[in-house]
């Protein structure tokens, strides 16, 4: 197993192991440290003795014992008893190595996500903490997703973990009356997590593994809160988006924009599931932001083949309604993409330039849309510069290949309009 493969194993394992340890030991810092130490031991022993059949179970066993050891040491030093540290063999027995990890490690992710989203945790730390502990993202990745400096984010995480440890935030599942308050925090956290999972169209990136997890967790939320319309809406959004995953890149690994994807490749089972969830959301929360977002996805997923027209007018209308509920640059940017298709690239470009460019300069979708609109308006030199700018921001590989291709086609056949939705399928 090479370094990259090991890293993937550690990341996969971290999501469930840290949650299980935290539920057991009621200490987030201890759980994280113990898991990190277990990974270090794996790096030392696996190359010599070989990778165990079930690496996750191995890591859990080792981390569990390390945590137990640390707790004992802590207790001893508190009681001021000077005993030689017990030497416990932290390596699992062969029997333990045979155990299937689903039996060894209890699934405590929901419990962990609720701790991370407790109302006593600062709102700006909740999503970051969930991504770190429940989804296993690195501090660097989270800092990137939140457009924050790494030390700022690291400090925020430390503060949140300290607050959880010191204030007595319970590690038990909260009782029913606490659920609605937690819901919003949990849903927005899942949204951020999913958008990271969905970012790399090729699906080869590090985040794809936890898309399945978000599918699961979003469904669990609807089961726990059967009256919460927004929970259904989010579960629907995630399924519509996942349904399109098989059609998001071509055979050469190039991103395919939403309007050019062949609907025959979309996962009909996910779409049917999402349609049912959306119907519940529309009943329970008709005019909510999340329901509108699910309706936007549904508008696309209703397309049966590339021969039928793309649903741009409907999409534009939905973005108009969404804008009335949430006026932010991202909604505006998406609306501009639809506007370019319905009204024209020139009008869309005027509205794009009315956005606050300084805040969006490093936002890949903004630069990609800008490059495309410039190209379609015949401003080829500016378009070329814009494509260079967006490529410099290092988009995910599939997106990068698409953008490079668009750039190389510039000025060739100038009469051929390019599709506006250069935003990758999100």
């Amino acid at each position: 197993m090479n370094g990259q493969a090991l890293e993937r194993v550690f990341r996969e394992a971290s999501r469930r192991i840290i949650a299980a340890l935290a539920a057991q030991f009621r200490d987030l810092g201890l759980s994280e440290d113990a898991f990190a130490e277990a990974c270090l031991r794996a790096l030392r022993t696996w190359p010599e003795r070989g990778v165990p059949d079930d690496p996750t179970a191995w890591l859990y066993r080792v981390a569990y014992r390390i945590a137990l050891d640390a707790l004992r040491a802590r207790r001893r030093s508190r009681e001021n008893v000077h005993k030689a540290s017990e030497l416990i063999d932290a390596n699992p027995t062969p029997e333990e190595q045979m155990l299937d990890d689903s039996r060894v490690i209890p699934d405590e992710r929901l419990r962990l996500i609720l701790i991370c989203c407790h109302p006593a945790v600062a709102p700006d730390a909740r999503a970051a903490l969930t991504l770190r502990l429940v989804c296993g993202l690195t501090v660097t990745e989270i800092a990137h997703a939140f457009l924050l400096e790494e030390p700022t984010l690291a400090q925020r995480l430390v503060r949140a973990k300290h607050k959880i440890a010191e204030s007595g935030i319970p590690f038990d599942l909260p009782s029913k009356e606490h659920w609605p308050v937690r819901l919003e925090a949990v849903l927005s956290t899942l949204e951020v997590a999913y958008s990271k999972a969905h970012e790399d169209a090729a699906g080869a990136g590090r985040h794809t593994g936890f898309a399945a997890e978000i599918l699961h967790l979003s469904k669990v939320m609807t089961e726990l809160l059967p009256d919460a319309g927004e929970a259904y809406a989010l579960a629907a959004v995630v399924r519509y988006a996942e349904a399109r995953r098989p059609a998001r890149v071509d055979a050469e690994g190039v991103m395919i924009p939403l309007s050019l994807q062949d609907p025959r490749h979309w996962r009909r089972d996910f779409i049917a599931d999402a349609d049912r969830l959306l119907a519940r959301a529309v009943d329970l929360a008709p005019e909510s932001i999340r329901t509108l977002q699910a309706q936007l996805q549904a508008a696309w997923c209703a397309r049966a083949s590339l021969n039928g027209p793309a649903p741009w007018p409907h999409v534009l209308e939905l973005y108009d309604r969404l804008l009335a509920l949430r006026d932010d640059p991202i909604v505006r940017l998406n609306r501009i993409v639809a506007l370019a298709e319905v009204v024209g690239a020139d009008t869309a470009l005027v509205q794009l330039h009315a956005l606050e460019a300084s805040k969006l300069a490093e936002f890949i979708p903004y630069q990609a849309v800008r490059a495309d609109l410039l190209a379609r308006s015949g401003r080829i030199d500016e378009a070329r510069a814009a494509y260079a700018a967006v490529l410099a921001l290092k988009p995910a590989p599939a997106e990068q290949r698409w953008l490079s291709r668009q750039l190389s086609q510039l000025g060739g056949r100038g009469d051929r309009p390019l599709p506006a939705d250069l935003r990758p399928d999100r």
Binding site: H118, A120, E166, S167, G168, I169, P170, D172, P174, H178
Partner: protein, 114 residues
Amino acid sequence: MKYALLIYEDEAVYGPDKAGPRIQEVVGKHMDFAQGLGPKRLGGAGLKGTTSATTVRTSAGRKTVHDGPFAEAKEQLGGFYLIEASDLDEAIAIAKKVPILQDGAIEIRPVLGP
């Protein structure tokens, strides 16, 4: 865990020197609240108004005595409870029941030590 619930209200509501009619009202409510807490109440007290406060300040090792509360604010510390709660959720639930006549805030602070 042990928590202190610190009660902040605008003491002007209770009249000069907390002697107005509304003080009787709130004291009655606190007695009911404390009774409802039962053994979870470990201690606590209501405080006289900040006009009766004296502050001993230490600055660079020098102690000075001042008239008044340590900080002037719109809402003042008017009393506190010391409670036993299994976790922060229970402490929050209890804090939500602490009588407040108009506007105010209850600050929940875990107590140091075991």
